[in-house]
């Protein structure tokens, strides 16, 4: 269960988020949507505990994030930020192995190696595991970073625009994997993801959180909240939700 109580964030005295309160506990995929500058990334960072709100508080699974120690928090939530740049000479396997750091602090156990192997397999990275990060394409690189966050084995996985540099094939590939992994099963995770592509949100999300100008517009199950009227109002342009080949998508009205 994630709960935000009157969360506000200011940067240089400019309000970025204003009085956000929401709560949900279901697993699955939650999409954070809204126009540019709505405060989506700030909200995601507040939910991760890496950004302390100016006021209000965030609770995850009963823990107040502000009072959690960093290593404990890292076993509860993993966050993949936008455009992470790494100068170190890392292979994919090295990078994914870092996901286990909160659990072993430099002394990996047999279980850590199992989880790393599983993450590499889940994200189809086995054949690439010895390749250097610097030599990868955008899609491979993003898969590797998501696999690292996945290997962290946290109940909550937060992703900040992980699809921004990807073509439709890689977008679909990653979202299909996240969708499968967020379904009930032994490794089920709750995924919260900032999305710009409303078509992707319409197709894959179970729940949406819509923001505009730092304020919560709506939150709830996708089927209830994601309507053409709400989206048109949110983005200030005519949009409608359509069904093509049995899959939902968003098209210009």
């Amino acid at each position: 269960m994630i709960t935000l109580e009157n969360v506000s964030v200011e940067k240089d005295r400019t309000p970025i988020l204003t009085d956000i309160s929401l709560s949900f506990g279901e697993a699955g995929i939650t999409a954070l949507i809204g126009p540019n500058g709505a405060g989506k990334s700030t909200l995601l960072h507040s939910m991760s505990g890496l950004l302390t709100p100016t006021s209000g508080r965030v609770k995850i699974d009963g823990h107040d994030l502000a009072s959690l120690r960093a290593p404990d928090r890292a076993r509860l939530i993993s966050l993949l930020a936008q455009d992470e740049r790494v100068t170190a000479r890392l292979t994919i396997e090295d990078l994914v192995s870092f996901g286990r750091w909160p659990h072993h602090h430099g002394r990996p156990t047999a279980h850590d190696h199992e989880v790393i192997a599983e993450a590499l397999e889940t994200f189809d990275l086995i054949s690439l595991k010895s390749r250097l990060i610097a030599s990868l394409s955008g899609g491979q690189r993003q898969r590797a970073f998501i696999a690292m966050a996945w290997a962290q084995e946290t109940p909550w996985l937060l992703l900040d625009e992980p699809l921004s540099a990807l073509d439709p094939r890689h977008t679909r590939d990653i979202m299909d994997r996240l969708h499968t992994l967020s379904r009930p099963g032994p490794n089920q995770r709750s995924v919260i993801i900032v999305l710009h592509d409303l078509g992707v949100a319409a197709r894959y999300a179970d729940r949406i959180i819509a923001l505009r100008d730092g304020q919560l517009v709506t939150t709830g199950p996708k089927w209830l909240s994601m309507t053409g009227t709400m989206l048109s109002d949110l983005f200030g342009t005519g949009l409608s939700v359509a069904e093509i080949d049995g899959k939902q998508t968003v098209v210009p009205a």
Partner: protein, 314 residues
């Protein structure tokens, strides 16, 4: 692979040390050996300190073109020397107790660096770029002030300042060297203890913090460590700007790993080996035709240009 190459570096290091100490060793052997040992000690301290400091600095700034020199250490050192000569005069400067001067220089440089880091990083380590830019501007300001003061000096005093502005490995005081060696050993041990955390810090601020690493604490500890390493080296022999870049770049190229437990000592060994071998070539083969510091700076400067031109800064 990294382990084997690291062992090769250790072998190279001891090889150049032996070459430096034993090449054409004539009578009185004990005296010559003792003189060579003192010089070797200074070369090792400076090379190792600057090499290790640069790897740590490049990791926390996530930029492999930067050296700690960019935050104005060299300029501060030259400024301090100029002010000392200006206020005490040439004779006063020459009669300063060397140990006191050495200690005061280390303390001044570390305190200034920590003040700068502390002020700049009050809002957290997101402000790393601001820290670097402030360091650059501070360096320019101090160089400007030193330049102005140098114009007011008489030519003999000016020559003293000029002499102190380039690293010199001859005539290092033994007591200072011992202190520097102890400080270096303690700081390097501390750096090795931080090496695992630095591996995580190298992933970037958000990723490192998401992995539960207390990023700001590690970065501040690393900056303090860099300040101490550079201050010890500069106070001992004078400024060497590009040696660190040379040592760190060769360490990344020769020991292909992300593990700081290898990278830090590798850069230290390479830095020391470059200086020892360079000094050997100039002193024994070329008959002191040039100054080692000038050539190291020249080679480091060329490498810097090559790195800048080869790829966009990361």
């Amino acid at each position: 692979m990294a382990k084997i190459r690291f062992l090769c570096l250790i072998a190279v290091f001891f090889g150049v040390c032996a070459l430096f100490l034993l090449w054409q060793l004539r009578d009185p052997k004990a005296l010559i050996l003792s003189l060579r040992l003192t010089k070797l000690g200074a070369l090792v301290v400076v090379g190792a300190a600057v090499g290790a400091a640069t790897v740590v600095f490049q990791t926390i700034t996530a930029n492999r073109l930067l050296t700690p020199g960019i935050v104005g250490f060299d300029a501060l050192y030259i400024f301090l020397q100029t002010m000392l000569v200006m206020t005490l005069g040439g004779t006063g400067y020459a009669t300063l107790p060397q140990l006191g001067q050495f200690g005061a220089e280390i303390v001044t440089m570390v305190v200034t660096a920590l003040l700068l880091f502390g002020l700049m990083l009050r809002r957290g380590t997101e402000d790393m770029l601001r820290l670097i830019l402030t360091g650059v501007i501070l360096g320019v300001l101090l160089r400007g002030l030193a330049g102005l003061a140098q114009r007011l000096l008489d030519p003999s005093e000016f020559a003293i300042v000029q002499g102190a502005s380039f690293a010199s490995f001859g005539g290092v005081d033994k007591t200072q060297l011992w202190i520097a060696m102890v400080l270096l050993a303690v700081t390097l041990l501390f750096a090795m203890r931080l090496s695992r955390q630095l591996d995580i810090v190298a992933l970037g601020r958000t990723t490192a913090r998401s992995l539960g690493q207390e990023y700001d604490r590690v970065v501040l500890a690393s900056l303090a460590l860099v300040a101490l390493l550079v201050a010890v080296s500069t106070a001992l022999v004078g400024p060497v700007t590009f040696l660190g870049l040379l040592a760190a770049s060769l360490a990344y190229a020769f020991v292909p790993t992300w593990r700081h437990i290898y990278l830090i000592p590798a850069a230290a060994l390479i830095g020391a080996s470059i200086l020892i071998f360079g000094q050997f070539v100039f002193e024994r083969l070329l008959g002191l035709q040039s100054t080692l510091a000038v050539i190291v700076e020249f080679a480091g400067g060329l490498l810097f240009l090559a790195l800048v031109l080869r790829r966009s800064p990361r």
